[in-house]
Subunit: 303 residues, 2 copies
């Protein structure tokens, strides 16, 4: 095996990697998540994004394998790891006549809880930083943040907190976002963010639902600038994510927490972590590409 086309195909975007012996030769991004496909659907999107690339094996991860994706791929139950994932790939034949292999999402019977796409980032992170495999707590922040517990290279537990989506719906559709300056999202008020984090932390066992309205009442009270409300709310919700995840007792807080994902977002989490006396390791980027390569390598049989 020498080359692979890896597809990180989520709800809102499609990212394609041309990989050569594990190194990313080229990356292409399209705004064609599974809910925003171009005319011609999945086939047209794929044809466009791999145009001019060699006819090498293609492996896709993410919502492309969901019920509303190209083909539904059954979840794989925990505990599981890269080797097992590689034996559970699904495949379909695209309009160009070639095969696309699909990575299954993971299902945690505890909850139950599910992920699609993050499993590939987890595999990639463990490949990029092998000392995480023995025992680690991984954090993949986002619309649906994932906290993941890994032991001996196996995903043993994970949980989802809808932090990013809660922020978006409260900012756009609730009273908390009403009447704010139009550019309020552009402000980065680290003091307001920190105040939000601390309010969530200090809510103790009561939790953030007793503090959410405070993002409004502090503003009405003149204690919070209207332009700072989005950062305060972001702090409240990210602070709540730490408070709640730690309160479950399911994640080992004695381990360094390893963030995986977008640097700007991980930086917010790193800043929040300090208010909980925690240190986050430096962010792992591009884990999806490495995960796709690692799974394809383990799958061997089709390459």
């Amino acid at each position: 095996m020498s080359q692979l086309i890896g597809l990180d195909w989520g709800t809102s975007s499609l990212r394609a990697y041309l990989l050569d012996e594990g190194s990313v030769r080229e990356t292409r991004s399209r705004p064609w998540g599974v809910r925003h496909l171009p005319e011609g659907g999945f086939d047209a999107a794929l044809r466009d994004v791999v145009a001019d690339w060699p006819a090498v094996p293609r492996l896709a991860a993410g919502m492309v394998g969901s019920r509303n994706g190209w083909r539904e791929v059954a979840y794989l139950d925990l505990p599981t790891g890269a080797e097992i994932i590689a034996t559970a790939l699904s495949e379909l034949r695209s309009a160009d006549g070639d095969v696309v292999h699909l990575v299954p999402g993971l299902r945690n019977p505890r909850g139950p809880d599910v992920m699609r796409g993050e499993e590939t980032q987890i595999v990639g992170a463990l490949a990029l930083k092998p000392d995480l495999a023995a025992r680690s707590t991984l954090l993949l922040p986002g619309t649906h943040s994932k906290w993941v517990s890994v032991r001996d290279g196996i995903v043993e537990d994970f949980m989802t907190l809808m932090t990013g989506e809660l922020y978006a719906v409260l900012r756009r559709h609730s009273i908390l976002g009403a009447g704010l300056p139009a550019d309020a999202d552009a402000v980065t008020d680290s003091d307001a963010f920190r105040r939000g984090v601390c309010a969530a932390r200090d809510s103790g066992a009561a939790g953030v639902t007793t503090r959410l309205f405070g993002a409004r009442s502090l503003m009405l009270d003149g204690q919070l600038d209207p332009a700072a409300v989005p950062d305060y709310l972001s702090g409240l919700l990210i602070g709540e994510e730490f408070r709640a995840a730690l309160a479950t007792g399911r994640m080992d807080a004695a381990l360094p927490i390893q963030p995986i994902g977008d640097e700007a977002l991980c930086a917010r989490y790193r800043y929040a972590a300090t208010e909980f006396g925690l240190n986050l390791s430096s962010t792992i980027h591009d884990a999806a590409a490495q995960g796709l390569w690692r799974i394809a390598s383990a799958a061997g049989h089709f390459l």
Copy 2:
């Protein structure tokens, strides 16, 4: 004094009462909350809603006195009660040349937290059920639910939980409401509701943010019928309201909890309360009209 026009003027609706010695003679409702006024604004709305009624004193409570209302009335700080509220009324002259008196909202320095309109319902509830005055925990469920602690007729503490608004934004704008049958809101699945309540209760100190995504994953997992998701979500959020409010330690759970408001909504809370081993007293309705009468009586000077 023999008659009063009481106006319960909120964000989404206007309700007018013609009161005669404390009894409601007539009630009129209009969909003219302070954000949905008819052409001609507040004056036109008032003219219409009191048409043909006698020219008697007029007292208004609710968002009509907010920053985006007819005239902003400063909040009154806790601790406070009916007698003090009655000395803090504001007034304006409407286009018909007569005065409209406005009830101030309350501000809890703890938080801070605020209310507008509920203070009048609280006063009304204490008038309707005098034995609440000595010591009680009041619950006014809704978009912004209020938990209120009363002692010797004085509001000593209150807090806001955005339960109703959280439900609305998550149901309409988040993944939790995506792809549900169009009539799913019409279903009342008491088992799904109860499961949601218990999931929130059993989340313990971690709280509901660790369970929200479950409304999606249980459905994907075939453990929750898509049509039952709204009731499950409602149970989760109302259950969280009990869990969180009790966890603050600020409300005396040894007292009977007195619900005030819409019967259908209070019935949901009553059902949820049983999962926490709590009993809610029978619902107090029409507290706003009684509160307006009681405050007007205490204000005496203008009547």
